[in-house]
Symmetry: C2
Subunit: 327 residues, 2 copies
């Protein structure tokens, strides 16, 4: 019997409401990356090999439908946010010295850091041109804010390297890394319509709450992974000064905090059962689950401010998927 595959968002039917649009977005992304085929062909495969969940364009499209926006503006915007996401991942791989991305070799691994810098800049430039093609300067400025916020978050984290973050610093990091991006995707959907803040603000709030939840679910998934993976993940993150919220919490709250710190610093595989036990006993996992539930409630509250529609219901299903996913 073959091992069950992790459920794919498309299989779940999560984006079925915007399926034709998502296919157009995929085609447009492929066209942008393959555009200068002779030149960037060497890196295009790395960029397209593992397309990921494409959550960001789906949010633009669904939020846009919820706001009644025209697809003439939504489509280039949705494509642009995914290109920006690909650009930041390509540059992130340089920052993290990562040779793998979603199970495929990263751009810096296929080519080198130099080409990865250029490929990211190329994707940014193409994204900005698509955004400009909407004819809406507010859409351009809002999308650029994603890059600005992420850069500041990363620079902040980089400069604090080695110092253990407080919980609020940690939450600030995942906000800059993910929540602001998803929030802006939702607001971009609204900006593509002619509706005002009565629609764009709840959508922004929804995206922010989903983004915070998404990142914390990632933290928990790190810990429930098989012991071998867990060990590598926790130790590697700790070695790079990158901590998950359960670890941040346990280091601050557990009576075994000193021991946990020593074990993490040593990073020895044999210590892993003990690391996991300390995290369990500190109440860190329940604490993080409670926070995720809070963000899920916040997301539902934001949606309740919008007039009911199939798109709003789809956003609600998406929020549930984000907090219950196990991959």
């Amino acid at each position: 019997m073959s091992k069950p595959e992790p459920a794919d968002p498309d299989v779940v039917g999560l984006f079925s409401l915007v399926e034709p649009e998502m296919r157009l977005v995929a085609r447009q992304i492929e066209a942008v990356v393959r555009d200068e085929s002779r030149l960037v062909a060497e890196v295009a495969d790395a960029l397209l090999a593992a397309p990921g969940k494409r959550l960001r364009p789906a949010l633009v499209l669904l939020a846009g439908q919820a706001a009644g926006a025209s697809s003439a503006i939504l489509l280039p915007t949705a494509t642009a946010v995914e290109l920006i996401h690909m650009a930041t991942l390509t540059h992130d791989d340089i920052l993290d010295r990562a040779d793998w991305r979603r199970g495929e070799p990263s751009v810096r691994a296929v080519a080198d850091d130099q080409v990865a810098v250029l490929a990211g800049d190329f994707l940014f430039a193409r994204a900005v041109q698509l955004l400009a093609s909407t004819g809406r300067p507010a859409v351009v400025a809002e999308a650029a804010e994603v890059v600005h916020a992420m850069c500041l978050g990363e620079i902040r984290q980089h400069l604090s390297h080695g110092r253990r973050p407080s919980e609020s610093e940690y939450l600030g990091r995942i906000e800059a890394k993910t929540a602001t991006f998803l929030a802006i995707c939702c607001r971009l959907g609204a900006l593509a319509s002619d509706r005002g803040p009565e629609v764009s603000e709840p959508l922004y709030q929804f995206g922010w709450q989903v983004g915070m939840a998404f990142q914390l679910v990632d933290d928990l998934l790190d810990l429930v992974a098989d012991p071998d993976k867990l060990g590598k993940a926790v130790a590697a993150d700790y070695g790079q000064g990158v901590l998950t919220l359960p670890v941040v919490y346990a280091l601050a709250q557990s009576r075994d905090a000193r021991e946990l710190e020593d074990l993490l610093e040593r990073g020895h595989p044999a210590d892993l059962p003990r690391v996991r036990l300390i995290l369990h006993e500190s109440g860190a996992l329940d604490y993080v689950r409670g926070k995720i539930e809070g963000y899920r409630t916040g997301a539902a509250r934001a949606l309740a401010e919008l007039p009911p529609s199939p798109a709003v219901r789809a956003l609600d299903v998406l929020a549930t998927f984000v907090v219950t996913r196990d991959f």
Copy 2:
């Protein structure tokens, strides 16, 4: 007696027609970089230490005046092109593994490659927001084309690493690196006005010709520098697969081409007088001077298509400065 300083463009009075605007641009750039002072203070000094000639914003402003554009649109555009220039320099220093920039430590030297990637992205994002603030999507798209063209040029050069470029490949490189950027600066000035292609096209042509001349003058300046500098520059460029036009020409045309290639590959300081002699005797310097004169004539011809004005005269003076500068 103290050594004479190289003339500064401001002293020459080159930008006197747009002096108040240039001062506002400088203040706005300072504000952007100092904005998140606590966070990016560490790299801001490196970015501001050596402001350079600020040729690009001056071209936007002068071309804009020549087209009768309002300064409300010109100012943010002029600031944005300089921010884009700073961003590409910051990323270039990673590509070139350069620790110095205009006689000051580069961002990657002050911090590291990681921070330099982020600082560049930060500057791009701020530039895009300034461009969006003009309310003109065409201005945004045009400025993004600068980044797109430069990336393709750099990727192309990077992928051909080690292969000696033909003259036309070499000219394609300096076009992607400089001429397209200066051409777009001039067209951005026109796009800030309500005039059509009868104004924007001659301005674009002017910028392109000036850009090509600018880059070739750089090549010549490399060669007339004192022997010690010359040697380092030529050998280092050759070692990185980056050739100047005189070397490209001599390698293709000189009867001593084989010897020249050997000398460049060896990169020994004692060989430098011989290298310089071969370049001289091959006629490479006269050939490059002739090309520069051709671009200068092309620039004057483009300006002649525009209605006469103080701004057009200032652009003409600027073109003369570019081809006669000795620093």
